[in-house]
């Protein structure tokens, strides 16, 4: 059976033959993916199985590679935001804001305090949306569909908030250099308030459903563990690293967008297994809720964008009547904005870890080089190491708790 799948020179074919000669037992090859309902994205894993135990795995990625870095080298700076949406599409606003902040760092633009707070609010909402999906899908993969459907409607409410802010839902393309495209409407704040009132009870209920559930604990404790040293060497960041016990969080280490103004804890786990990853994400949702509340309470009045006419589109009415506005409008739309020659690296704490933008500009209208440090891509390489010796069903739970997003992995 297995020799039909693999060429005879493949190392697994050799291992199968060797084992056959040793004791007559038969190892098998299992092709998990590329499209499989339990892989949540397009990943292929060729697993060498001994019965139901995984001896080794080999991953193939890149099925939805869309050459974002190459496209970015050929687009004006404005047109790169839609590319960032499509990386981690579960928390697109974080990617958008990260990109604007990278540009603002390159251009030395100081954004108003109100914008920074609004950005914090939308980024934390995105983090909640991201964690809702990851944790509830982990429930699905261990056999509990109810929780998923229950909390999913609150992701929908977060999307309604996005819609109120920028008009889009999944791939948000939110914001501008220096701020937002428009001030947030009263309806947006109303929806945020409603969300903050309703969601905690629902999340508490969801937490009760799984956190001390015997079946869930049996399926996740000691499943797919990784030690702190190994996680660090593998380049883990974000909740997956914190589950292994290291309290590294970009929001604390290098506060951006006024994160230093807020009080929050960085939840850490201990053993780096699937259960700890679940718990860390769970706790982070509570911290995010608290950050949003603090930001709303302290939200300063002021403009919703920085005063940078070179980079920020003028209001449409002015474009029709005001010569200068027309010129700025034209220059910005055509991508003729002055960008100095520089190099910046800007990290933000994405849903899955440190999302970094490494931008090299040469003074022209497009980036000379733009590299995305995509946390998923870097930590997914540890997957085979983590599932070695585990059962097949554990591999599914591990994959889902790592929250690997195909769009971010493949860029």
């Amino acid at each position: 059976m297995s020799d039909l799948l693999l060429p005879p020179e493949h190392r697994y074919a050799k291992m199968i033959e060797q084992r056959q000669n040793e004791d007559g037992s038969e190892l098998s090859i299992l092709n998990l993916g590329p499209t499989h309902p339990a892989t949540h994205g397009i990943f292929q894993n060729i697993l060498l199985m001994d019965g139901e135990r995984i001896l080794d795995g080999e991953g193939t990625v890149g099925y939805i590679h869309r050459a974002f870095e190459k496209i970015a080298e050929n687009r004006p700076f404005y047109q790169i935001t839609p590319l960032t949406d499509r990386m981690n599409y579960c928390s697109a606003p974080i990617n958008n804001m990260g990109w604007w902040m990278t540009l603002e760092k390159a251009l030395d633009i100081e954004v108003p305090k109100r914008v920074q707070y609004l950005r914090v609010i939308v980024m934390e909402l995105a983090r909640i949306a991201d964690h809702i999906i990851c944790n509830s899908v982990l429930g699905v993969d261990t056999g509990a569909l109810t929780g998923f459907l229950y909390v999913f409607q609150y992701r929908e409410k977060i999307y309604e908030i996005y819609e109120e802010i920028c008009g889009a839902r999944l791939t948000t393309n939110m914001g501008r250099i220096g701020g937002f495209e428009r001030d947030w409407s009263p309806a947006a704040f109303k929806k945020i308030d409603d969300f903050l009132n309703e969601f905690p009870d629902i999340w508490k209920e969801f937490e009760n459903l799984l956190a001390r559930n015997r079946i869930f604990m049996d399926r996740t404790i000691d499943v797919g563990p990784i030690s702190a040293e190994k996680a660090m060497s593998y380049g883990f960041t974000g909740p997956n690293l914190r589950a292994a016990g290291i309290d590294y969080d970009v929001r604390v280490m290098q506060p951006y967008s006024s994160y230093e103004d807020f009080e929050f804890n960085v939840p850490v786990g201990k053993s780096g297994d699937t259960y700890d990853r679940f718990c860390v994400r769970n706790a982070e949702v509570w911290e995010s809720l608290s950050i949003i509340k603090q930001a709303l309470a302290k939200l300063p009045e002021g403009p919703f964008h920085a005063n940078v006419p070179d980079y920020y589109l003028p209001p449409k009415e002015e474009v029709y009547h005001n010569m200068e506005a027309l010129i700025y409008h034209f220059k910005i739309v055509m991508g003729e904005i002055p960008v100095p020659k520089t190099e910046v690296y800007h990290p933000v704490e994405g849903g899955n870890g440190e999302l970094g933008f490494y931008l090299i500009t040469d003074g022209s209208r497009t980036p000379y080089r733009l590299h995305f440090r995509r946390p998923c891509f870097i930590y997914y390489q540890a997957f085979n190491d983590m599932v070695r010796g585990q059962m097949l069903s554990d591999a599914i739970a591990t994959l889902s708790s790592l929250n690997v997003i195909a769009g971010e992995l493949d860029a």
């Binding site: 890149g62 190459k70 390159a106 190994k230 660090m232 190099e343 000379y368 590299h371 390489q381």
Partner: protein
């Protein structure tokens, strides 16, 4: 006490002499150049020295500079981060344009594995000693290295795009 950038510079130049050059603070990150031969030693020193303690390899990527002289046409860029003192650094190793080769960092950081494969995939930079240097995001059959500057964004043979305002004619091949 926080780790001063001057300390990093002094320690590195003291140990490696002219293999490390061009120290410059760009925005918030200290950047410098490392001679390609010494890359692995410098990274090991940065990681293992008890004062420097750059314990985390944040990022590896390649850059193509086709307009440079032939020995500096490719660069591999490394970002490292010291979590104890919270300092980031960036260093570049410039490589030959015809034969870009550099030592792998997989012996120091497991995370370098896929990042170097990605760099190889897009730039054709060979990482010597890499355990499994093959393409990762592109298909195995591909022969070119698509992030090189000479590689066109669009397929030159496309005939479905006709937009003369933006300099696109049905035969894009003769356009450039």
């Amino acid at each position: 006490m926080a780790l001063e950038t001057s300390v990093i510079e002094d320690k590195l130049t003291g140990k490696f002499g002219d293999k490390v050059t061009g120290f410059i603070q760009i925005k918030d990150i200290l950047s410098f150049e490392v001679h390609a031969d010494a890359m692995n030693d410098v990274m090991r020193f940065l990681k293992e020295d008890e004062l420097l303690r750059f314990n985390f390899l944040t990022d590896v990527c390649g850059v193509h500079y086709p307009d440079n002289e032939v020995n500096r046409q490719f660069a591999t860029v490394y970002h490292m981060h010291n979590w104890m003192d919270n300092v980031r650094i960036r260093f570049k190793s410039f490589l030959n344009g015809e034969k870009p080769e550099i030592d792998t960092a997989t012996n120091l950081f497991l995370s370098a594995n896929w990042q170097e494969r990605e760099t190889y995939d897009f730039y054709g930079i060979i990482f010597k000693g890499h355990p499994q240097l093959k393409r990762i995001l592109n298909m195995d059959e591909m022969v070119s290295f698509p992030m090189r500057k000479e590689f066109p964004l669009e397929d030159g043979g496309r005939t479905d795009k006709d937009d003369r305002f933006f300099g696109r004619k049905p035969d894009n091949v003769n356009n450039n």
